[in-house]
Symmetry: C2
Subunit: 224 residues, 2 copies
Amino acid sequence: MTRTEPATDTRAHLSRERVLETAVACADRHGLDALSMRKLGEELGASAMSAYYYFANKEQLLDGMVDVVFGEIEPPSPELDWKTAMRRRAVSTREALNRHRWAIGHMEGRTDHGAANIRLHDAVLGCLRGAGFSLEATVHAYSVQDAYIYGFVLQESDMSPQTAEDFAAEAQRQMEAYKDMLAEYPHIAEVVGGHVAKVGYDYATEFLFGLDLILEGLDRLRER
Amino acid sequence: MTRTEPATDTRAHLSRERVLETAVACADRHGLDALSMRKLGEELGASAMSAYYYFANKEQLLDGMVDVVFGEIEPPSPELDWKTAMRRRAVSTREALNRHRWAIGHMEGRTDHGAANIRLHDAVLGCLRGAGFSLEATVHAYSVQDAYIYGFVLQESDMSPQTAEDFAAEAQRQMEAYKDMLAEYPHIAEVVGGHVAKVGYDYATEFLFGLDLILEGLDRLRER
DNA sequence: ACCTGAACACCGTTCAAGT
DNA sequence: ACCTGAACACCGTTCAAGT
């Protein structure tokens, strides 16, 4: 958070932040698999093993990278009503995870939670409690929302086509490829051929559809 | 699908199925990271590179492994009403993914879908169409359900404690560890300390809570 | 304190060779 | 047809050494 650069830097020095920044940028561009400690050193303009001074191993580097992503998620504002606040936080989470597709699948399992993670967690719980959810209902509400958000981005980041038009084109291509099997799979033929290949599939509106369905369901769980 | 073993096998021969079976079992026990092509050869009682005869590379091996998991998911029965059928299919998906924790995160992104995957996909679409969902509503309904199911298991498989009691104990341990920071994070203190550390967190009931919330929301989308 | 280079035990993949 | 062994270009990590 606060940069403590020595006043007498002879050259481009390394730092925890700069290593993290470079690692995130590198993973964004080439994927997490392509990010090796050696490649990271090179990208930093330093030696192959230079990152090991700041991170004991690759797992701890990933801990740090994940918390960078958490830091980009907009926490729910206490100014807004709970539904709007949760909706915006969900959208912000989706956006952050789409900027850093390597992160999904590593956001939850960390044994030591980063500072940004904990801060966001606390803000979400506070939003729900303030809206009149009981302790139990708060746990429920948190679970459903996060399962949905992470699951949606997981599906989304795995699919190649991005826009609704791309999606329609890809659907049409796949229909051609599987043409001889379509008799065996009539419902895929109907839904993909009759709908997706025509109107496409827009991730943003699809995301909001499910999100609002969940938020409306949760609203009935509140007290008063 | 159909086994074509030669009648004159001199010894324990390899086969596509046996390689796949062994790979899945190995990943179940030690994780996907620990599964190397060399280790797999050893586990098969064959040479280090033996699996390369059946799979061009590790990615195609993973394609096959993922479809094994899809094959373990119970497709929706046409005998049941749509909500019960979807509920059972969701529970079955969660169970399969919990048996094969390495699979989550690899189920969706495959470029060539396996046979079991396509079969299940078609059955789910058929169930929804048969229940009176329009083409558009079917796509919505599929999206929400799968996002929720995958996302829930993603969270679940990342957490270490399994039972509600374990969870409560772990929560208590974490409360101790973060004691000095609790003033900064009052809502975590309240929810974790006041609820989770006491009653725990049962994954199965938590899963059904969100699932039913979604299914009930979707019910209002049907025609007639 | 901060960074480097060589060394170790591993990878995935290719390919000529064996039966 | 089915499998093997050696070889290549990579990994993550350790550690003694440099400044």
